[in-house]
């Protein structure tokens, strides 16, 4: 062979060696989560990898309090991120900022339509921005009113149906020697702090905003105004013990020294976990006190990032992963529900015998179903999370007596309306 032919053959062989593996190269999806039950997340990802050769999933976890800021930094810094847990309250801002891609851009329309039909109304609304769906539910639930059955029975108290009845029951319990009948999750930097308040307002049958998304809660007749007055009074009467996190509410309620709390439903599952809690079985869910007994429904979901959507192969892999985690036959969603007590947005799971059997161990599923049916979603706009960051300390100020309810509600409403005007321009 002539030298030129040798060089050509060598070049061909080299290109085969270098190009062929690249064509068969695995896609590694960067998946960000908050670190709730990381083992289960990892196990689900490994199962996905087994079913989908050629796609790997690299999980990066953050603590829940750090998650939002960490993700904003990742997105702003263009750190590779393909699929992420997203909260309903962050969606408008993140979608408007171009961090996330609508599922319509990455998923087959017929598959997506089939999934949408199964998703609960509030959950679908939580994951929709400008009429486009941005995710599939990882966890959808309500913030509910929980009480200790034994404490109420021993004190001869009925389950309260209104906030006035809750106050009366708490005062009676306090008079009987219970120092703080109510345990309240009080971390003004956590979104839960505002969400729990909204859930209480919904229980009264009210809302914070009108149909044009204008703030109306500075009106003393508004349910939110009344509920903040109620909370302020409860704090003033020293009926409330603050806990900085739900994980501390579980041991607190299990001391038997408290009667009421307002938490995510999975906390009830933890409270009634006989393997870990001494007073398991004593706790129950009651419809949110108030005239309508409605509650806030919310959804945390899997979303595909705009970065991933730009690359067709990556977008396809990301969609496959999201569909595996939250799509039919809802195996992963069911696993979360059965093993961890996590709520779901996929309505057919309510009729699943395994889910029913598992849930009846810690909750009266009929009462829960009723609460879910009356739940509705929050008002999530581009400016909601910015505004809640401003408003949460104000709420806290009123609760601990640093400011009046009127001051807080007026300042909060003014700020909301300013942001609304600014965004509309």
């Amino acid at each position: 062979m002539k030298p030129a032919g040798l060089i050509a053959a060598a070049a061909l062989a080299f290109s085969m060696v270098t190009v062929a593996p690249a064509a068969a190269e695995d896609i590694t999806l960067e998946f960000t989560v908050w670190n709730y039950s990381l083992d289960t997340i990892q196990d689900n990802a490994r199962k996905f990898e087994t079913e989908n050769p050629g796609i790997k999933v690299k999980i990066t976890d953050y603590t829940w309090p750090d998650y939002h800021d960490s993700l904003v930094l990742r997105f702003r810094g263009n750190t590779p991120t393909d699929v992420a847990y997203v909260g309903q309250d962050w969606l408008p801002a993140w979608a408007a900022a171009g961090f996330l891609a609508p599922l319509d851009d990455v998923a087959p329309a017929d598959v997506l339509d089939g999934l949408k039909k199964d998703i609960a109304g509030f959950s679908l609304s939580d994951m929709t921005y400008k009429e486009k769906l941005y995710g599939l539910p990882y966890y959808a639930d309500t913030i509910s009113f929980i009480y200790n059955k034994k404490v109420l029975e021993d004190a001869g108290l009925a389950v309260p149906k209104t906030w006035e009845e809750v106050m009366a029951a708490a005062e009676k319990l306090k008079a009987g020697g219970m120092e703080h009948p109510i345990v309240y999750e009080f971390d003004q930097e956590l979104p839960n702090f505002f969400d729990a308040f909204v859930s209480q307002v919904y229980g009264r049958g009210g809302d914070l905003f009108d149909k044009d998304q204008k703030a109306i809660f500075d009106n003393p007749e508004n349910a939110a105004y009344k509920q903040l007055q109620w909370l302020t009074e409860a704090f003033k009467k020293d009926l409330v013990q603050q806990e900085t996190h739900e994980s501390k509410i579980i041991p607190s309620m299990n001391t038997g020294k408290h009667a009421f709390t307002i938490v995510f439903n999975y906390v009830l599952a933890a409270l009634n976990n006989a393997a870990e809690q001494p007073l398991a079985g004593q706790f129950a869910l009651a419809p949110m006190p108030g005239e309508t007994h409605a509650a806030l429904g919310f959804t945390k979901f899997y979303a595909v990032t705009a970065q991933a959507a730009k690359d067709p192969a990556r977008a396809e892999a990301a969609w496959k992963f999201v569909n595996f985690m939250a799509g039919k036959p809802y195996t992963v969603a069911k696993r979360w529900a059965v093993e961890k007590g996590l709520g779901f947005g996929q309505v057919p799971l309510f009729d699943d015998p395994d889910v029913q059997a598992a849930w009846n161990k810690w909750v009266d599923s009929a009462v829960l179903k009723q609460q879910v049916a009356t739940a509705h979603g929050g008002v999530w706009t581009e400016w909601t999370s910015v505004w809640t960051a401003y408003f949460r300390p104000l709420l806290a100020q009123a609760m601990v007596g640093e400011a009046s309810v009127d001051q807080v509600m007026k300042a909060g409403a003014q700020r909301w309306n300013e942001l609304r005007e600014k965004m509309r321009k």
Binding site: V72, A97, E189, K257, A396, E402
Partner: protein
């Protein structure tokens, strides 16, 4: 040699480049950010001049955050120096178990601020925190003290936790200064009949006064810019009770997505810190750092 003396700046260039990359560029970028609208919600980064500064200063939280930061500094910095000096003096003495005690005292130093904060959150817990449990066992209280949920007590609690985290560094430096003191001078003074107070005032204090001033400045700056303890213990609350300026930088930037406003607060913090340093050094005798 010829090159070094002829072109000294050339030899400094690598270092200067590193300093510029990791110090000057971030500062310059932060200044640029503070003069522009840099918000997650509004992609256009328009020049706004001093509008961010105006908005921050006239906002709901700046006044209270400034007041809290100054109060925090005024309490924490002198207390760290006084307690640290007293502890340093005590540990400098020779007694059985001194070495073990010196090691134990340094423990807070090895803990990250956030871990210390979590630890103190448990210490101050109303139901099962160490402090309330102890007070209850001693019969001093019959109701839980809400250390972190009462605005005034929360401030005291956060200051206490901060002091605890800062003590080891102060103790180490005080002990280092004391180790250079000639013990024979102290023994001679004792033989001459000088009391402990006199020995401290006339021999020890003049010997360590320079390091004490350095520690005061350092602790004032640390207290004024502290963030992790507050973030993890109270989140600036309850209400605004423990909202500090440094916390407000994070809040504006990462909670309200307004990086321009956050950078403005950061520059205000830098300006006030500089004023603090000038004020403290001006208040000191001019011969402080010279050998007497």
């Amino acid at each position: 040699m010829w090159m070094t003396s002829r072109f000294p700046a050339l030899w400094l260039l690598p270092t200067l480049l590193l300093v510029a990359t990791f110090t000057l560029f971030p500062i310059g970028h932060a200044l640029w950010t503070s003069l522009h609208q840099v918000m997650l919600l509004f992609p256009e980064q328009e020049w706004v001049g001093l509008a961010n500064y105006r908005a921050v200063v006239t906002g709901e939280y700046f006044g209270v955050a400034l007041k809290n930061s100054l109060l925090f500094t005024l309490w924490a910095a002198p207390l760290v120096v006084v307690i640290g000096t007293a502890t340093g003096l005590f540990l400098h003495r020779r007694f059985p178990g001194a070495a073990i005690l010196r090691s134990i005292v340094l423990l807070p130093w090895v803990l990250p601020g956030a871990i210390s904060a979590v630890l103190w959150t448990w210490v101050f817990h109303p139901s099962w925190g160490v402090i309330n449990t102890l007070l209850r066992k001693l019969g001093l209280i019959d109701r839980s003290i809400p250390w972190l949920s009462d605005p005034e007590l929360a401030f005291v609690s956060v200051v206490t936790a901060h002091i605890w985290t800062q003590l080891p560094f102060t103790i180490v430096l005080v002990m280092a200064a004391l180790s250079t003191l000639n013990r024979e001078v102290l023994e001679a003074a004792e033989i001459d009949g000088a009391s402990a107070g006199q020995r401290f005032a006339h021999i020890v204090l003049p010997h360590i006064k320079a390091i004490l001033v350095v520690l005061l400045i350092y602790n004032a700056l640390t207290a004024f810019t502290t963030y992790d303890i507050v973030y993890a213990m109270t989140g600036g609350g309850p209400g605004t009770a423990t909202t500090l300026l440094s916390f407000q930088i994070w809040k504006e930037s990462f909670s309200m997505y307004d990086f321009g406003a956050g950078a403005s607060v950061a520059f205000i913090v830098v300006a006030i810190s500089a004023l603090l340093i000038i004020a403290i050094t001006k208040a000191m005798p001019s011969d402080l750092f010279t050998d007497s």
